[in-house]
C-alpha cells in the first residue's frame, strides 16, 4: 500500500474541493462577518465596512433578548431530548415483548412519522391543532382555542411534533441494540437467578450504554438546532418573537433585520456550543471502541 498516496489524493480531490469551498470557507467567512458591522448599506456598497472586533458579540451578550432566546433554546431542546428518549426507549422495549406482526405495525407507523418532511409534518400538526377546524379541539370540546397563541402551548405543540418525528430513530436504534445482545448472556443471568428487573438494570442497560450515549448526544445536537418546526408552526418565532430559538433568531437578525454581522455572531455562538457537545460525542464513540 506504499506509494499510493497520489492515487488516494486523486480520489479525495472532489470531496476536498466541495467540502473546502462549501463548508470550510463559509465557516471562516462566518467568523469574519461576525466581526464586522454588516448591514444592508454595506451589502449594497452604500457604506464602507467597519471592523467591530468583538462588537457584535458585546451587543449580543448585553442584549436581554439573546439570553431569553438562549434559555428557551436550551429548555426546548431539553424537553425534546428527554421526550424523544423516553418515548423511543419505552417503545423499543415494547417491541421486544410482542410478536413480529405487532412490531411491524408499530415500525411502519414510526417509519411514517420518521419520513414525514419537517415542513409537511409541521403543517399537519398545525391543522390537527387548528383553532376552528382542528380535530384535537373537536375531541377536547375546546373549539376556538388557539394552541399557537399562548407562548407555552405553542412551545409544547412544537416539542410534541419534534418528538413525534424523532423518536423513531431512537426506537429503531435501541431495538437493534437490544436484539444484538447475545441470548446466552441473558440466559446466563436467568440461570444465575436474576429477576427480570435485575437483568434489565445489571445486564441489558450496561450493554446498551454506548448506544444510549450516542442516541442521546445525537438527539441533543438535532434538537438544539430545530429551525423548520419553530419557523413554520409559530410563523417565524411567534408573536413578538416570544417563541424564538437560536437558529430562528439568527435567521431573523440576518435576513429580516438585515443585521448580517449580528446573525453571523449568533451562528458562531451556536457552533461553539455544538462543538463542545461534539467533543463529548467523540469521546463516547472512542469509548465504544471506534477505530478511526
Amino acid at each position: 500500500m506504499r506509494g499510493h498516496a497520489r492515487v488516494a489524493f486523486a480520489y479525495l480531490t472532489p470531496a476536498l474541493l466541495v467540502l473546502g469551498g462549501l463548508l470550510a470557507y463559509p465557516i471562516y467567512q462566518l467568523v469574519l462577518i461576525s466581526l464586522y458591522d454588516y448591514g444592508q448599506e454595506q451589502v449594497s456598497g452604500g457604506a464602507p465596512l467597519t471592523f467591530l472586533g468583538l462588537g457584535n458579540y458585546q451587543k449580543l451578550l448585553g442584549d436581554q433578548q439573546f439570553w431569553t432566546v438562549l434559555g428557551q433554546t436550551v429548555g426546548f431542546a431539553a424537553v425534546c431530548v428527554v421526550g424523544t428518549l423516553l418515548v423511543g426507549a419505552c417503545l423499543a422495549i415494547l417491541c421486544t415483548r410482542v410478536r413480529t406482526w405487532a412490531r411491524m405495525v408499530l415500525f411502519l407507523a414510526a417509519l411514517g412519522a420518521w419520513s414525514t418532511p419537517a415542513v409537511a409534518g409541521s403543517t399537519i400538526w398545525l391543522f390537527l391543532f387548528d383553532a376552528n377546524f382542528g380535530f384535537v379541539n373537536e375531541i377536547l370540546g375546546t373549539t376556538g382555542y388557539s394552541w399557537t397563541f399562548d407562548k407555552w402551548t405553542a412551545f409544547g405543540l412544537v416539542a410534541a411534533q419534534v418528538i413525534w418525528c424523532s423518536f423513531p430513530f431512537v426506537m429503531v436504534t435501541l431495538y437493534a441494540g437490544i436484539k444484538a445482545i447475545p441470548a446466552e448472556v441473558l440466559e446466563a443471568a436467568a440461570l444465575d437467578g436474576a429477576s427480570t428487573l435485575r437483568t434489565a438494570v445489571s445486564v441489558t442497560l450496561p450493554l446498551l450504554k454506548p448506544i444510549l450515549i450516542v442516541v442521546t448526544i445525537q438527539s441533543i445536537i438535532w434538537d438544539f438546532k430545530v429551525f423548520t418546526q419553530i419557523y413554520v408552526m409559530t410563523n417565524g418565532g411567534g408573536i413578538a418573537g416570544r417563541n424564538l430559538v437560536l437558529n430562528v433568531y439568527a435567521y431573523q437578525q440576518a435576513f429580516a433585520a438585515s443585521e448580517y454581522g449580528l446573525g453571523a455572531a449568533i451562528g458562531v455562538v451556536m457552533t461553539a456550543v455544538l462543538l463542545v457537545i461534539t467533543l463529548f460525542y467523540l469521546r463516547a464513540l472512542r469509548r465504544q471502541g471506534e477505530a478511526l
Partner: protein
C-alpha cells in the same frame, strides 16, 4: 393473555403515531366544505380530488415538485460518486493526515449548517455573478449546499462498507489483470451498493426536506421554488386553504415514505454501521 394485551397496546400506539399522517391523507381527499368544517369527522363519504387539482393547477405545485426532484436527484448522483471515491481513499490507503481528515469529517458533521446561511448566502451571490446557474435564485445553489452537507455523513458511513470488502479481493483482481479503475467500478462499487443505497436515501431526504436554504436562496424566482417553500405559499394568515395544504403535504411526503419503506432494512443496518463504524 398478557401478550395479547401488550399487543393491543402496541397497535393503539401505532394508531396514535400514524394518526397525523392518516389525517393528512384523509383531509387531502375530503371535499372542501368538510375540511373547513367546525365539526371535523375522521372519515369522508364523498372523497374528491379537488384539493389535489387546486394544489397542482392554481398553485403550480407540479413545477415545484419537479424542482425538488431535480435538486434531490442531482445531489444524490454527485454525492454517490464523490463519497465513494473519498471513502475508498480513506479506507484502502494509509497516508499521513488520514486520521486528521477523519476527525475533520466527524467534526464538520456537527457544525450547525443553519449557522452557515449568512456566509453561504453571500458566497452564492458572488458565485451567481460569474456562473448564474449556481447563484441565488437558481436550483444549482441548492444542489451545491446540499451536496456539501450530505458528503461528510455519506463518506463516514460508506467507510464501514468499503472496509468490509476484503483486501484479498483487490489483490485477486489485480492478479487477474484488472486495472485500478476497473476494480473500483466493477468490483468494489457493486459490493458497497447497499451502503450507497442507505447514504443516498439520507442525502435525498436532506435535500428534499430542506426549507431554510430554499427560503434563503430562492428569493425572487418563484419558478425555481422547491416543495417546502411552495407549501408555505398556501399558508396565509387566517385564511388557510387546508385542503390544498394537505394535498401538497401528501404529495411531498409520499416519495420519502416510499424510499423509507423500500430501504428500511438497509437504513437500519446502515445506521448501525454508522454508529458502530
Amino acid at each position: 393473555m398478557r401478550r395479547g394485551l401488550t399487543e393491543s397496546v402496541t397497535v393503539v400506539i401505532a394508531g396514535v403515531v400514524a394518526f397525523p399522517l392518516f389525517w393528512m391523507v384523509l383531509s387531502a381527499f375530503k371535499p372542501e366544505d368538510e375540511v373547513i368544517s367546525a365539526d371535523p369527522r375522521p372519515w369522508t363519504l364523498r372523497p374528491s380530488l379537488d384539493s389535489f387539482t387546486r394544489a397542482l393547477t392554481v398553485q403550480n405545485f407540479g413545477r415545484y415538485f419537479m424542482n425538488s426532484v431535480i435538486v434531490a436527484l442531482v445531489v444524490v448522483a454527485l454525492s454517490i460518486l464523490i463519497s465513494f471515491l473519498a471513502a475508498t481513499a480513506l479506507t484502502r490507503f494509509r497516508f499521513r493526515s488520514r486520521t486528521t481528515l477523519l476527525i475533520m469529517l466527524l467534526v464538520v458533521q456537527m457544525v450547525p449548517i443553519e449557522a452557515l446561511t449568512v456566509p453561504l448566502f453571500f458566497l452564492m451571490r458572488s458565485v451567481g455573478d460569474s456562473v448564474p446557474m449556481f447563484g441565488l435564485n437558481h436550483l444549482g445553489s441548492l444542489v451545491l449546499v446540499h451536496l456539501a452537507f450530505s458528503l461528510p455523513f455519506a463518506i463516514w458511513m460508506l467507510r464501514g462498507f468499503v472496509a468490509a470488502v476484503p483486501v484479498e479481493l483487490e489483490e485477486a483482481a489485480t492478479l487477474d489483470g484488472a486495472s485500478r479503475f476497473r476494480f473500483l467500478w466493477q468490483v468494489l462499487f457493486p459490493l458497497v451498493a447497499p451502503g450507497l443505497v442507505a447514504t443516498s436515501v439520507l442525502s435525498f431526504i436532506h435535500a428534499w426536506n430542506d426549507f431554510l436554504f430554499a427560503k434563503t436562496f430562492i428569493i425572487s424566482a418563484a419558478e425555481n421554488q422547491t416543495l417546502p417553500l411552495a407549501l408555505q405559499v398556501f399558508v396565509k394568515p387566517d385564511q388557510n386553504d387546508w385542503g390544498a395544504i394537505m394535498a401538497g403535504s401528501t404529495l411531498m411526503t409520499i416519495p420519502v415514505l416510499v424510499f423509507f419503506v423500500l430501504v428500511q432494512r438497509n437504513l437500519v443496518s446502515g445506521l448501525a454501521g454508522a454508529v458502530k463504524g
